[in-house]
Amino acid sequence: MDLFLLLVLPLVGIVVPLLAKSCSRTLCAFLTAIAPVTALILLLTMSQDLLDGVVLSSSLSWIPAMGMDLSVRLDGLVFLFLILIFGIGALVILYARYYLSPDDSMGRFYCYFMMFMSAMVGVVASGNIIQMWFFWELTSISSFLLISFWSSRTDARKGARMALTVTGAGGLALLAGLLLVGQVVGSFDLETVLNSGDALRESGEYPFILVLVLLGAFTKSAQFPFHFWLPQAMAAPTPVSAYLHSATMVKAGIFLMARFYPVLSGTEMWFLIVSLTGLCTFLFGAYMALFKHDLKGLLAYSTISHLGLITLLFGLDTRLATVAAIFHVINHATFKASLFMAAGIIDHESGSRDMRQLNGLWKYMPYTATLAIIAAASMAGVPLLNGFLSKEMFFNETLDQGSLGSLSWVIPVLATLGGVFSVAYSTRFIHDVFFNGEPVNLPKTPHEPPRYMKLPVEILVGCCLLVGIVPGLVVAQLLNAASSASLLGPVPYYSLAIWHGFNLPLMMSFVAMAGGFFVYYNRRTLFHFQMQFPEPDSKVVFERWVQRAIKACRFGHAYIENGSLQRYIFLLLLATLAVTVTPLTALQQTSGLKPQLPMDAASVTAAILLVLSAVATVIWNRKRLVALLMLSVVGLIVSIAFARYSAPDLALTQLAVEVVTVILLMLALFFLPQQTPKESSPRRLVRDIGISALVGGVIGTVNYAMMTRPLETISDFFVANSKTGGGGTNVVNVILVDFRGFDTLGEITVLGIAAIAIYKLIVGMRLYMPSGDEYGRHWSTDTYPMVLAVISQILLPLALLVSVYIFLRGHNEPGGGFIAGLITGVALIQQYIANGVGWMKARVHINYQWMIGSGLLIAAFTGVGSWFFDKPFLTSWFDYFKWPWVGKFELASAMLFDLGVYLTVVGATMLILANLGTLTTSERPDERVLEDQ
């Protein structure tokens, strides 16, 4: 459980600063620091085991489906990284207390900071590789927040976005790699993975895994060519840089290589990719660092260079090189963190980071200068400092490999060249800032920082010295444990002695020193030379590329999604064709075995009329009313066809619906243009005709194939049970109100929704009302023709009687609530047409909305009623009664259900048509504002 505490403590630490925000700054910092310090102490209590090479682990099941456990695994390597994370973290917290100005939100800063720390702890301490990735991505996200801490600054935002993009991309590659690892190994448990090196290297996925994992590591560790985000991340407050870019974030990539070293290394591919990348990065960073005028810029490139150095060491792929790499991790963390802090102090106290302004600070801040100079010297690899030791090991290792065959000498030479530039930029850091004349136009007069701001630097520089002087005492055990954990085995012999005698590495160090001083001395020539290759601001370049990509996306997106419905429909049809054509061509025989109906002259004639009217509708589609008339003919023939093929109910419904639709279309057409402009190009017409004909052809063919094949259906059941089980002889109606009454409930709900939806549409709609028809003819003055009014009034009671008749017979013969409802609706609409809205309003006091509501309620409650008989929803009931004189008659719950249907239909039809009609009158519907009470 203690192990989890290591993870939980920083997590708890996220909340602390938010709670302590209102406390004093010092208290806030102090409280925040409790978590890492406690964790560090906790860690140190375990140090004995860890230094002895014991692996401590503990895990809880979390999301087994994903193979992710909550698992902590500590060994020497993790121990080393955790010390850096907690130790330097605590120091940075202290440092930031003084660095941040009172305007900056301290709570927010520490909160992000602790978030990052937790993520970092998670990465290194994970015992499960998915969990490791989880925290890996968290480092990207929390570093995004830290880099963009001064969010109002453009460079901070852009730098943060760039870091997120690059490291995010690497993170995704890493995920892919780790998932493949899990796939090959069969487990995401780190322990298992680490023991499966051979299986991994031999698997076919190895190249992919290697490349993907390394992509993750390289992007995080700012390896060339993914290095460019790191200098831009300097927009962050300096404590962030000191933490992220010395000891933690960039080291996560290194950690990854160290962690997976035993399973991924040992191949040609590993050597080539890792060492070459490292070498390039090492040289490139070292060279570039010299030309940065910004103090943090110099440190950033130097960081890149040192990370390259470590990578190169991993790439050299000898066990000893790995030890050197890990050693340099420690050393780099200490001197680079202190250098960043020093740079921050200089910036803080002088107001500038530009080395062209900063000169001769020795006079103003000798103490800080001393610390900075020691750290910089360590960076340069000056003896008696820790940097010297690891660099010496590095030179030694470059000499010790032969993978490039006869060209193997290239590596030590280039390594020495890198060393030259390292010395040069370190010298510049020392000379150009603390000496080299007087300051130029500094915003502030520099002075020493507050006492405790120096403390973290002192501690770190002290470490540099201690390690440099007595390495065997201070660091040997730790290095040994970490190396053996990384190597997953015994550590080869190496000596941490300061003096190994005059040997080649020492010579290389000497060359580097001398060369460095020489280069620095002749820097002006070199600066001049470098001026010819103006380095583009990677931020600008990156931003430009992203902008370009976005522009391209916008263009592409607008090209595909051009807002044209016609295109979308076209694509829909194309998709339909695409999926249907193949099976259709696979259909061996279009016509099936079922005997077909004979053709008769009347039907053929009707079919011809149907075809003609349909085509006429299309041809005259631009003359809208004419198209409407043609459409009516189509509808009429369709209903006759229903009648012909034994579906009287359908014929009735189709007729009624068609008339209501035509009325509706006319109501709408009044407000729409009477003609459609001619706007389709011939090409478009051909295309449209083509695709419609194809779809029509497919549908027709399928229909023919279907109709001519025999079929057995479930319908016999309905015929058999209609009378006995449903109490009606009209099977279609019994299906509607009983067997599939639930469909009907849904159907009338749809109708009800349509009605209220349409009401919602027309409420408050303001429309242009034409004063005459399309030819400019004024409307007739006879608003309500007398004869029509009189006859309509006479017909109303008859129509209602007919609708009652249709309603009541529906269960046994064609008819039913729906058709009856439509007849009633049409009869009422006829009154509106003939007599006018005002006339009707004075005489009819029906709230159609309530009518819909009660219709639906009746239908639903009829269904609920069956619960009281312990039957499922909508179970019907019927019985026959015999009264004297009246005779035998039937009562059925289906009738009540049908009444609900009837009311809904009438209500819906009227709510739609009557309200639509009133749009042009003083009775127009208006938004009823419902207020809270």
Binding site: D782, P785, V787, L788, I791, I794, L795
Partner: protein
Amino acid sequence: MPFWVELIGSILILLGGFFVLMGSIGLVKMPDFYMRLHTPTKATTLGMGAILIASMILVSVNQNGLSAHELLISIFLFITAPVTAMMMAKTGLHYHLKIHKGTLNRDLADIAKQRQPPNH
């Protein structure tokens, strides 16, 4: 079914079909809208009447009971046909449709359209 019933039925049906057809022929043949308006509304009333009576007779005999509901359709058509005709005539007047050149009192069409009394 007795022969005479079948005979009467057949005659009525043929008559009905004939009148329906005549009406539609008139619809095609007549030179102007107003003249066309006469033919279908009339011929169909009679044609429909004949068919409906035939239906009444045949169904009644077939089912051994009076089948009179066809009457309803007749009644309905008799009530509505004149109204639709008049509405269409109104529409024709409103549209100033071309009037056949031999028509007498052509000027009345305009006056009728404006629903004014004739000026004589």
